[in-house]
């Protein structure tokens, strides 16, 4: 049952990512990206990363994807043929990405990765441990990235305001 669900998640991620890559309607790509991001959140659940799965759903699906759909709707003219359907460099893109894919597959399936099996002591959830790490070992990085996020949001608001 669990492996069936895992297979379903993988198939869903790959099919919707292919739709993101080749769909001629930009809004279809955006909706397919929704399914990809949900599938990745499901993979996080399989990896015992409960906090990351929730974060993925809240920030990616609830934030970034809504932002992207807003961008699509603000910049796409409905009637004119969309430029999303025209794509360039298809042969070069296919060759480059399949070369990268084969290279990574060769590395992935030839390397002897560490394979720790499930340990009962993990089963208490990850949120408390992540909170402790963020406020102890990674405190400086946490503060720096919060300032970066604030600066990026102010910059975005500044860039997109109506010029007087």
């Amino acid at each position: 049952m669990s492996s069936l669900l895992f297979l379903f998640l993988i198939v869903m991620i790959i099919i919707s990512a292919v739709i993101v890559a080749i769909s001629s309607q930009l809004i279809h790509s955006a909706v397919a990206l929704l399914f990809t991001l949900f599938g990745v959140a499901g993979l996080y659940v399989f990896l015992y990363a409960d906090f990351m799965a929730a974060t993925q759903v809240i920030i990616y699906v609830g934030g970034i994807l809504v932002l992207i759909i807003f961008g699509v709707m603000l910049t796409n003219k409905i009637n004119t043929p969309s430029i999303a359907s025209s794509s360039v460099n298809q042969i070069i893109g296919f060759l480059a990405s399949s070369f990268l894919l084969l290279l990574q597959f060769a590395v992935i399936f030839k390397t002897d990765w560490p394979q720790k099996t499930f340990n009962e002591s993990w089963g208490t959830g990850t949120t408390a441990k992540i909170g402790n790490l963020l406020l102890q070992d990674y405190l400086l990085a946490f503060e720096v990235i919060s300032i970066l996020l604030l600066a990026a949001l102010i910059g975005a608001a500044f860039l997109s305001r109506r010029s007087s």
């Binding site: 990512a17 990896l47 992207i68 070069i92 990574q104 560490p114 996020l149």
Partner: protein
Amino acid sequence: MNDIQSYLAVASILFSLGVFTVITRRNAIAILMGIELILNAANINFIAFNRFGGMERLDGHIFAIFVIVLAAAEAAVALAIIINLFKNIGTVDVDQAKELRG
């Protein structure tokens, strides 16, 4: 089935599709979607390595959180720039944005 190779394989497929999207699309928002695919592939790798390396410490999760924060910041700024581009030249085709080309 539920071993590290399958997660890494899914991540590499996502990464390759993201690279394909970034190379072939001319619409700036579609390119942004390709970048999101690439960042998600990186996040899957971080969390898979953390889980299969034993979860005594959760450093991989922290890195994935930072990647998500950077993706949010990048999406906000990139969409602001794209909307400005649309206001100025009336299109989001990246080939048309050539004012600064030398």
